[in-house]
Protein backbone atom coordinates (compact mmCIF):
# COMPACT_ATOMS: atom_id res chain seq x y z
CA UNK A 1 0.00 0.00 0.00
CA UNK A 2 1.35 3.45 -0.81
CA UNK A 3 0.53 6.91 0.45
CA UNK A 4 1.63 10.18 -1.09
CA UNK A 5 0.90 12.28 1.99
CA UNK A 6 4.56 12.98 2.77
CA UNK A 7 5.10 14.24 -0.79
CA UNK A 8 2.49 16.92 -0.20
CA UNK A 9 4.36 18.45 2.74
CA UNK A 10 6.46 21.56 2.33
CA UNK A 11 10.25 21.20 2.46
CA UNK A 12 10.35 22.97 5.83
CA UNK A 13 7.81 20.63 7.42
CA UNK A 14 9.58 17.67 5.84
CA UNK A 15 12.83 18.83 7.45
CA UNK A 16 11.13 19.09 10.83
CA UNK A 17 10.04 15.48 10.62
CA UNK A 18 13.69 14.46 10.88
CA UNK A 19 13.94 16.00 14.34
CA UNK A 20 10.61 14.80 15.63
CA UNK A 21 9.13 18.29 15.47
CA UNK A 22 5.87 17.12 13.96
CA UNK A 23 2.94 19.54 13.51
CA UNK A 24 -0.37 18.31 14.92
CA UNK A 25 -2.10 17.78 11.56
CA UNK A 26 0.83 15.77 10.26
CA UNK A 27 1.01 13.79 13.50
CA UNK A 28 -2.66 12.97 13.20
CA UNK A 29 -2.16 11.51 9.73
CA UNK A 30 0.97 9.60 10.70
CA UNK A 31 -0.86 8.02 13.63
CA UNK A 32 -3.45 6.70 11.22
CA UNK A 33 -1.19 5.71 8.31
CA UNK A 34 1.20 2.80 8.75
CA UNK A 35 3.05 3.56 5.49
CA UNK A 36 3.82 7.14 6.47
CA UNK A 37 4.70 6.15 10.01
CA UNK A 38 7.32 3.73 8.68
CA UNK A 39 8.65 6.29 6.24
CA UNK A 40 9.04 8.94 8.93
CA UNK A 41 10.72 6.41 11.19
CA UNK A 42 13.14 5.46 8.42
CA UNK A 43 13.83 9.12 7.73
CA UNK A 44 14.62 9.85 11.36
CA UNK A 45 16.77 6.74 11.71
CA UNK A 46 18.75 7.74 8.66
CA UNK A 47 19.22 11.31 9.89
CA UNK A 48 20.38 10.11 13.29
CA UNK A 49 22.78 7.61 11.72
CA UNK A 50 24.19 10.26 9.41
CA UNK A 51 24.70 12.66 12.31
CA UNK A 52 26.46 10.00 14.38
CA UNK A 53 28.67 8.69 11.57
CA UNK A 54 29.49 11.85 9.70
CA UNK A 55 30.12 14.50 12.35
CA UNK A 56 33.59 15.91 11.60
CA UNK A 57 34.46 12.71 9.69
CA UNK A 58 36.72 14.56 7.28
CA UNK A 59 38.42 16.74 9.91
CA UNK A 60 41.79 16.14 11.57
CA UNK A 61 41.37 14.93 15.16
CA UNK A 62 41.86 17.45 18.00
CA UNK A 63 45.26 15.85 18.75
CA UNK A 64 46.38 16.17 15.14
CA UNK A 65 45.18 19.75 14.84
CA UNK A 66 46.88 20.77 18.10
CA UNK A 67 50.16 19.15 17.05
CA UNK A 68 49.93 20.78 13.64
CA UNK A 69 49.43 24.18 15.27
CA UNK A 70 52.35 23.52 17.62
CA UNK A 71 54.85 21.88 15.29
CA UNK A 72 53.76 21.37 11.68
CA UNK A 73 57.16 19.92 10.78
CA UNK A 74 56.22 16.82 12.76
CA UNK A 75 54.11 15.90 9.74
CA UNK A 76 55.31 14.77 6.33
CA UNK A 77 55.08 17.33 3.55
CA UNK A 78 52.20 15.41 2.06
CA UNK A 79 50.31 15.45 5.37
CA UNK A 80 51.04 19.12 5.84
CA UNK A 81 49.60 19.89 2.42
CA UNK A 82 46.51 17.79 3.12
CA UNK A 83 45.87 19.50 6.47
CA UNK A 84 46.49 22.98 5.02
CA UNK A 85 44.06 22.29 2.17
CA UNK A 86 41.48 21.12 4.68
CA UNK A 87 41.94 24.26 6.79
CA UNK A 88 41.30 26.40 3.73
CA UNK A 89 37.88 24.85 3.19
CA UNK A 90 36.67 23.87 6.68
CA UNK A 91 35.42 26.89 8.61
CA UNK A 92 35.12 24.95 11.87
CA UNK A 93 38.67 23.55 11.76
CA UNK A 94 40.01 26.90 10.66
CA UNK A 95 38.60 28.65 13.72
CA UNK A 96 39.82 25.85 16.03
CA UNK A 97 43.25 26.06 14.39
CA UNK A 98 43.44 29.82 14.96
CA UNK A 99 42.60 29.31 18.62
CA UNK A 100 45.28 26.62 18.85
CA UNK A 101 47.96 28.72 17.15
CA UNK A 102 47.27 31.49 19.63
CA UNK A 103 47.49 29.05 22.53
CA UNK A 104 50.70 27.44 21.27
CA UNK A 105 52.26 30.90 21.05
CA UNK A 106 51.67 31.61 24.74
CA UNK A 107 54.65 31.42 27.10
CA UNK A 108 55.39 28.36 29.22
CA UNK A 109 55.31 30.49 32.35
CA UNK A 110 52.59 32.61 33.85
CA UNK A 111 52.95 36.26 32.89
CA UNK A 112 53.78 38.44 35.87
CA UNK A 113 50.63 39.75 37.52
CA UNK A 114 49.75 43.16 36.12
CA UNK A 115 48.05 45.39 38.59
CA UNK A 116 44.86 46.91 37.32
CA UNK A 117 45.56 50.43 36.20
CA UNK A 118 48.99 49.79 34.74
CA UNK A 119 47.73 49.11 31.27
CA UNK A 120 44.37 50.85 31.27
CA UNK A 121 42.89 53.87 32.90
CA UNK A 122 40.71 52.49 35.64
CA UNK A 123 37.59 54.24 36.79
CA UNK A 124 35.67 53.21 39.84
CA UNK A 125 31.94 53.54 39.37
CA UNK A 126 30.07 54.83 42.39
CA UNK A 127 26.56 54.02 43.46
CA UNK A 128 24.40 56.98 42.60
CA UNK A 129 22.40 58.31 45.55
CA UNK A 130 18.73 57.20 45.46
CA UNK A 131 17.40 60.73 44.88
CA UNK A 132 19.60 61.15 41.85
CA UNK A 133 18.57 57.72 40.61
CA UNK A 134 14.95 58.63 40.75
CA UNK A 135 15.49 61.83 38.85
CA UNK A 136 17.59 60.28 36.18
CA UNK A 137 16.31 60.26 32.67
CA UNK A 138 18.14 57.14 31.55
CA UNK A 139 16.79 55.50 28.47
CA UNK A 140 14.44 52.57 29.03
CA UNK A 141 16.28 49.30 29.11
CA UNK A 142 15.30 46.71 26.56
CA UNK A 143 16.76 43.44 27.72
CA UNK A 144 17.66 41.42 24.61
CA UNK A 145 15.10 43.58 22.88
CA UNK A 146 12.24 42.00 24.75
CA UNK A 147 11.78 42.89 28.38
CA UNK A 148 11.76 46.22 30.11
CA UNK A 149 13.84 46.04 33.21
CA UNK A 150 12.55 47.69 36.36
CA UNK A 151 14.90 50.37 37.61
CA UNK A 152 17.82 48.79 39.42
CA UNK A 153 20.88 50.12 41.21
CA UNK A 154 22.44 52.97 39.25
CA UNK A 155 26.20 53.41 39.21
CA UNK A 156 28.01 56.25 37.52
CA UNK A 157 31.37 57.39 36.31
CA UNK A 158 32.09 60.76 34.82
CA UNK A 159 30.71 59.63 31.46
CA UNK A 160 28.81 56.40 31.88
CA UNK A 161 25.73 55.19 33.71
CA UNK A 162 25.48 51.55 34.64
CA UNK A 163 22.19 50.11 35.87
CA UNK A 164 22.25 46.70 37.51
CA UNK A 165 19.26 44.54 38.18
CA UNK A 166 18.98 41.28 40.03
CA UNK A 167 16.38 38.62 39.46
CA UNK A 168 16.00 35.30 41.24
CA UNK A 169 16.31 32.38 38.82
CA UNK A 170 16.00 29.52 41.26
CA UNK A 171 16.27 28.88 44.97
CA UNK A 172 20.06 29.05 44.77
CA UNK A 173 20.84 31.31 41.83
CA UNK A 174 20.21 34.78 40.46
CA UNK A 175 20.43 36.45 37.13
CA UNK A 176 22.42 39.69 37.20
CA UNK A 177 21.73 41.98 34.27
CA UNK A 178 23.00 45.39 33.41
CA UNK A 179 22.51 48.27 31.05
CA UNK A 180 25.12 50.79 29.94
CA UNK A 181 24.42 54.26 28.66
CA UNK A 182 26.22 57.51 28.07
CA UNK A 183 25.54 60.13 30.76
CA UNK A 184 25.30 63.00 28.33
CA UNK A 185 22.66 61.18 26.32
CA UNK A 186 24.86 60.84 23.25
CA UNK A 187 24.65 57.64 21.27
CA UNK A 188 27.62 55.60 22.42
CA UNK A 189 27.95 52.05 21.14
CA UNK A 190 28.72 49.68 23.98
CA UNK A 191 27.97 46.60 21.90
CA UNK A 192 30.80 44.08 22.09
CA UNK A 193 32.26 45.43 25.32
CA UNK A 194 33.26 42.63 27.69
CA UNK A 195 32.00 42.59 31.27
CA UNK A 196 33.68 40.32 33.81
CA UNK A 197 32.06 39.04 36.97
CA UNK A 198 34.82 38.47 39.51
CA UNK A 199 34.98 36.95 42.95
CA UNK A 200 38.15 36.89 45.07
CA UNK A 201 40.12 38.05 42.07
CA UNK A 202 39.06 35.24 39.73
CA UNK A 203 36.87 35.81 36.70
CA UNK A 204 33.78 33.65 37.13
CA UNK A 205 31.88 34.69 34.02
CA UNK A 206 32.39 37.03 31.11
CA UNK A 207 29.43 38.54 29.28
CA UNK A 208 29.45 40.57 26.10
CA UNK A 209 27.27 43.66 25.82
CA UNK A 210 24.63 43.11 23.14
CA UNK A 211 23.18 45.47 20.56
CA UNK A 212 20.76 46.87 23.16
CA UNK A 213 23.68 47.80 25.46
CA UNK A 214 22.68 45.15 27.97
CA UNK A 215 24.52 42.20 29.45
CA UNK A 216 23.39 39.26 31.56
CA UNK A 217 25.07 36.83 33.93
CA UNK A 218 23.05 33.71 34.68
CA UNK A 219 23.39 31.12 37.46
CA UNK A 220 25.00 33.56 39.90
CA UNK A 221 24.96 32.18 43.46
CA UNK A 222 24.48 34.59 46.42
CA UNK A 223 27.71 36.32 47.40
CA UNK A 224 29.81 39.44 47.05
CA UNK A 225 31.27 40.10 43.62
CA UNK A 226 32.83 42.87 41.66
CA UNK A 227 32.33 43.81 38.04
CA UNK A 228 34.86 44.97 35.48
CA UNK A 229 33.70 46.60 32.29
CA UNK A 230 36.37 46.71 29.56
CA UNK A 231 35.58 49.86 27.61
CA UNK A 232 37.88 50.86 24.76
CA UNK A 233 39.85 53.47 26.65
CA UNK A 234 39.20 52.55 30.26
CA UNK A 235 38.24 49.78 32.60
CA UNK A 236 35.26 50.58 34.79
CA UNK A 237 35.14 48.87 38.15
CA UNK A 238 32.14 48.31 40.35
CA UNK A 239 33.89 47.24 43.49
CA UNK A 240 31.06 45.58 45.36
CA UNK A 241 28.01 43.86 43.98
CA UNK A 242 25.98 42.06 46.59
CA UNK A 243 23.93 39.21 45.22
CA UNK A 244 21.41 38.05 47.78
Amino acid sequence: MTCSFLDTLSDVIFDRLTSGEIPDDVRHHIQQCETCRQEVEALRSFTALAARYLYRVTCPSPDTLALFAHMPTQFSEEEQTRIREHLETCVECHSEYEMLVEMMGLPLTLPPAVSIGETLRTIVARLRPPSASHNTSTAPMALRGATLLPEGLVYETEDVLIVLDLERESVATFSLSGFLSSKDGNEVAFEGVKVHLRKNGSVLQTAVVDEFDTFVFSNVPPGTYHLEIDCADARILIETVEVA
Partner: protein, 228 residues
Protein backbone atom coordinates in the same frame (compact mmCIF):
# COMPACT_ATOMS: atom_id res chain seq x y z
CA UNK B 1 76.54 14.32 45.70
CA UNK B 2 74.13 14.30 42.82
CA UNK B 3 71.24 16.74 42.98
CA UNK B 4 68.85 13.81 42.45
CA UNK B 5 69.96 12.18 45.70
CA UNK B 6 69.62 15.42 47.60
CA UNK B 7 65.91 15.39 46.64
CA UNK B 8 65.36 12.13 48.42
CA UNK B 9 62.42 13.61 50.31
CA UNK B 10 59.57 14.57 48.07
CA UNK B 11 58.55 17.51 50.28
CA UNK B 12 61.97 19.04 49.71
CA UNK B 13 61.61 18.50 45.99
CA UNK B 14 58.19 20.13 45.93
CA UNK B 15 59.46 23.15 47.89
CA UNK B 16 62.44 23.54 45.60
CA UNK B 17 60.28 23.37 42.47
CA UNK B 18 57.98 26.05 43.88
CA UNK B 19 60.98 28.18 44.89
CA UNK B 20 62.53 27.94 41.44
CA UNK B 21 59.23 28.80 39.75
CA UNK B 22 58.85 31.89 41.95
CA UNK B 23 62.45 32.82 41.28
CA UNK B 24 61.65 32.92 37.59
CA UNK B 25 59.01 35.58 38.22
CA UNK B 26 61.24 37.74 40.40
CA UNK B 27 64.67 37.32 38.77
CA UNK B 28 63.78 35.98 35.34
CA UNK B 29 66.00 32.93 35.86
CA UNK B 30 65.46 29.52 37.39
CA UNK B 31 66.86 26.02 37.52
CA UNK B 32 64.51 23.45 36.09
CA UNK B 33 66.04 20.35 37.65
CA UNK B 34 63.73 20.06 40.66
CA UNK B 35 60.53 20.53 38.65
CA UNK B 36 61.74 18.10 36.00
CA UNK B 37 62.50 15.55 38.72
CA UNK B 38 59.01 16.06 40.14
CA UNK B 39 57.54 15.23 36.73
CA UNK B 40 59.82 12.19 36.46
CA UNK B 41 58.62 10.80 39.76
CA UNK B 42 55.01 11.45 38.89
CA UNK B 43 55.23 9.80 35.46
CA UNK B 44 57.86 7.10 35.85
CA UNK B 45 57.04 6.07 39.42
CA UNK B 46 53.36 6.99 39.18
CA UNK B 47 53.94 8.87 42.45
CA UNK B 48 50.62 10.40 43.49
CA UNK B 49 52.16 13.03 45.80
CA UNK B 50 54.42 14.24 43.01
CA UNK B 51 51.47 14.32 40.61
CA UNK B 52 49.38 16.40 43.00
CA UNK B 53 52.30 18.78 43.47
CA UNK B 54 52.57 19.18 39.69
CA UNK B 55 48.87 19.98 39.51
CA UNK B 56 49.24 22.56 42.29
CA UNK B 57 52.30 24.08 40.68
CA UNK B 58 50.98 24.31 37.13
CA UNK B 59 47.16 24.43 37.18
CA UNK B 60 47.18 28.24 37.06
CA UNK B 61 49.41 28.14 34.00
CA UNK B 62 47.08 25.68 32.25
CA UNK B 63 44.11 27.84 33.21
CA UNK B 64 45.87 30.88 31.76
CA UNK B 65 46.44 29.11 28.42
CA UNK B 66 42.84 27.94 28.20
CA UNK B 67 41.19 31.13 29.42
CA UNK B 68 43.32 33.35 27.23
CA UNK B 69 42.37 31.55 24.02
CA UNK B 70 38.94 30.04 24.46
CA UNK B 71 36.87 32.89 25.93
CA UNK B 72 34.78 32.87 22.74
CA UNK B 73 33.67 29.33 23.58
CA UNK B 74 33.85 28.98 27.35
CA UNK B 75 33.17 31.62 29.97
CA UNK B 76 31.75 29.71 32.91
CA UNK B 77 34.10 28.83 35.72
CA UNK B 78 32.90 25.21 35.71
CA UNK B 79 33.80 24.81 32.04
CA UNK B 80 37.26 26.25 32.51
CA UNK B 81 37.95 24.13 35.59
CA UNK B 82 36.73 21.04 33.79
CA UNK B 83 39.07 21.80 30.88
CA UNK B 84 42.02 22.25 33.25
CA UNK B 85 41.26 18.84 34.74
CA UNK B 86 40.83 17.28 31.29
CA UNK B 87 44.23 18.67 30.29
CA UNK B 88 46.01 17.07 33.23
CA UNK B 89 44.12 13.80 32.70
CA UNK B 90 45.13 13.75 29.04
CA UNK B 91 48.75 14.48 29.92
CA UNK B 92 48.78 11.70 32.51
CA UNK B 93 47.29 9.11 30.18
CA UNK B 94 49.39 10.13 27.19
CA UNK B 95 52.79 9.55 28.77
CA UNK B 96 53.34 6.00 29.99
CA UNK B 97 56.46 5.55 32.16
CA UNK B 98 58.52 4.10 29.31
CA UNK B 99 57.97 7.23 27.20
CA UNK B 100 59.21 9.71 29.77
CA UNK B 101 62.74 9.53 28.35
CA UNK B 102 61.42 11.19 25.19
CA UNK B 103 61.28 14.41 27.22
CA UNK B 104 64.70 15.91 27.78
CA UNK B 105 63.76 19.10 29.62
CA UNK B 106 61.10 20.82 31.69
CA UNK B 107 60.42 23.00 28.67
CA UNK B 108 59.58 19.93 26.60
CA UNK B 109 57.22 18.65 29.30
CA UNK B 110 55.42 21.97 29.64
CA UNK B 111 55.21 22.24 25.86
CA UNK B 112 53.48 18.88 25.82
CA UNK B 113 51.18 19.95 28.65
CA UNK B 114 50.18 22.93 26.52
CA UNK B 115 49.56 20.62 23.57
CA UNK B 116 47.22 18.62 25.81
CA UNK B 117 45.43 21.84 26.81
CA UNK B 118 44.92 22.69 23.13
CA UNK B 119 43.70 19.23 22.24
CA UNK B 120 41.36 19.01 25.25
CA UNK B 121 39.90 22.44 24.45
CA UNK B 122 39.35 21.57 20.77
CA UNK B 123 37.78 18.27 21.73
CA UNK B 124 35.39 20.05 24.11
CA UNK B 125 34.40 22.61 21.49
CA UNK B 126 33.51 19.79 19.10
CA UNK B 127 31.70 17.83 21.76
CA UNK B 128 29.49 20.80 22.66
CA UNK B 129 28.50 21.29 19.03
CA UNK B 130 27.94 17.58 18.63
CA UNK B 131 25.67 17.60 21.65
CA UNK B 132 23.63 20.41 20.11
CA UNK B 133 23.33 18.41 16.90
CA UNK B 134 22.14 15.27 18.68
CA UNK B 135 19.81 17.20 20.96
CA UNK B 136 18.19 18.71 17.89
CA UNK B 137 17.60 15.17 16.71
CA UNK B 138 16.31 14.24 20.16
CA UNK B 139 19.08 11.69 20.38
CA UNK B 140 20.56 12.75 23.69
CA UNK B 141 19.64 14.89 26.65
CA UNK B 142 23.05 15.06 28.30
CA UNK B 143 26.54 15.91 27.14
CA UNK B 144 28.11 12.80 25.63
CA UNK B 145 30.95 11.51 27.76
CA UNK B 146 34.47 11.33 26.38
CA UNK B 147 33.85 7.68 25.58
CA UNK B 148 30.59 8.37 23.80
CA UNK B 149 31.89 10.84 21.31
CA UNK B 150 31.51 9.19 17.98
CA UNK B 151 34.90 10.29 16.77
CA UNK B 152 36.57 7.95 19.19
CA UNK B 153 34.04 5.18 19.71
CA UNK B 154 32.93 4.55 16.16
CA UNK B 155 35.34 2.91 13.85
CA UNK B 156 37.01 5.63 11.85
CA UNK B 157 37.25 3.45 8.75
CA UNK B 158 33.53 2.63 8.89
CA UNK B 159 32.68 6.34 9.19
CA UNK B 160 34.87 7.16 6.21
CA UNK B 161 33.28 4.36 4.18
CA UNK B 162 29.85 5.68 5.06
CA UNK B 163 30.82 9.19 3.94
CA UNK B 164 32.33 7.78 0.73
CA UNK B 165 29.07 5.94 0.04
CA UNK B 166 26.94 9.02 0.71
CA UNK B 167 29.07 11.03 -1.71
CA UNK B 168 28.45 8.51 -4.49
CA UNK B 169 24.73 9.23 -4.07
CA UNK B 170 25.04 13.00 -4.44
CA UNK B 171 24.29 14.42 -7.86
CA UNK B 172 25.83 17.86 -7.85
CA UNK B 173 27.82 20.36 -5.81
CA UNK B 174 24.73 21.89 -4.22
CA UNK B 175 23.80 18.53 -2.76
CA UNK B 176 27.34 17.99 -1.55
CA UNK B 177 27.41 21.42 0.14
CA UNK B 178 24.12 20.83 1.94
CA UNK B 179 24.91 17.32 3.14
CA UNK B 180 28.51 18.15 4.11
CA UNK B 181 27.53 21.20 6.13
CA UNK B 182 24.47 19.55 7.65
CA UNK B 183 26.00 16.30 8.81
CA UNK B 184 29.77 16.74 8.80
CA UNK B 185 29.83 20.21 10.33
CA UNK B 186 26.43 20.12 12.06
CA UNK B 187 25.11 23.36 10.58
CA UNK B 188 21.47 24.42 10.36
CA UNK B 189 19.87 25.22 6.97
CA UNK B 190 19.84 28.91 7.85
CA UNK B 191 23.58 28.88 8.64
CA UNK B 192 24.30 27.21 5.31
CA UNK B 193 22.27 29.79 3.42
CA UNK B 194 24.00 32.65 5.26
CA UNK B 195 27.46 31.27 4.48
CA UNK B 196 26.68 30.59 0.80
CA UNK B 197 24.08 33.18 -0.24
CA UNK B 198 25.07 33.05 -3.90
CA UNK B 199 24.69 29.30 -4.09
CA UNK B 200 21.50 29.30 -1.99
CA UNK B 201 19.72 32.68 -2.31
CA UNK B 202 16.90 31.51 -0.01
CA UNK B 203 16.89 29.13 2.93
CA UNK B 204 14.11 27.26 1.15
CA UNK B 205 16.69 26.26 -1.46
CA UNK B 206 18.66 24.49 1.26
CA UNK B 207 15.53 22.75 2.54
CA UNK B 208 14.64 21.63 -0.99
CA UNK B 209 18.08 20.20 -1.74
CA UNK B 210 18.25 18.48 1.64
CA UNK B 211 14.84 16.92 1.14
CA UNK B 212 15.73 15.62 -2.31
CA UNK B 213 18.86 13.96 -0.99
CA UNK B 214 17.18 12.50 2.11
CA UNK B 215 14.35 11.15 -0.03
CA UNK B 216 16.80 9.49 -2.38
CA UNK B 217 19.03 8.10 0.34
CA UNK B 218 16.30 6.60 2.48
CA UNK B 219 15.02 4.72 -0.54
CA UNK B 220 18.39 3.48 -1.74
CA UNK B 221 19.27 -0.20 -1.41
CA UNK B 222 22.81 0.57 -0.31
CA UNK B 223 21.56 2.74 2.52
CA UNK B 224 19.24 0.00 3.76
CA UNK B 225 22.28 -2.21 4.18
CA UNK B 226 23.96 0.47 6.30
CA UNK B 227 20.84 0.89 8.37
CA UNK B 228 20.80 -2.81 9.15
Amino acid sequence: MSRKLSYEHIDKLIDECARQSNRFFTDGVSEDESCFELFRRAIVHRNQVAWEAIYNQYHKLVRYWIQHCSSAYFTHEDDIQSLVNATFAKFWHSIPPEKFDNFKSLRALLGYLKLCAGSATTDRIRRQKYQTLLTDLEEVRTLPSDDDIEQSSLDKAAREQFWAYIQTQLKDEDEWFVIYHTFVLGWKPRDIQKEFPQRFPDVKDVYRVKRNVLDRLRRSEGMRRWME
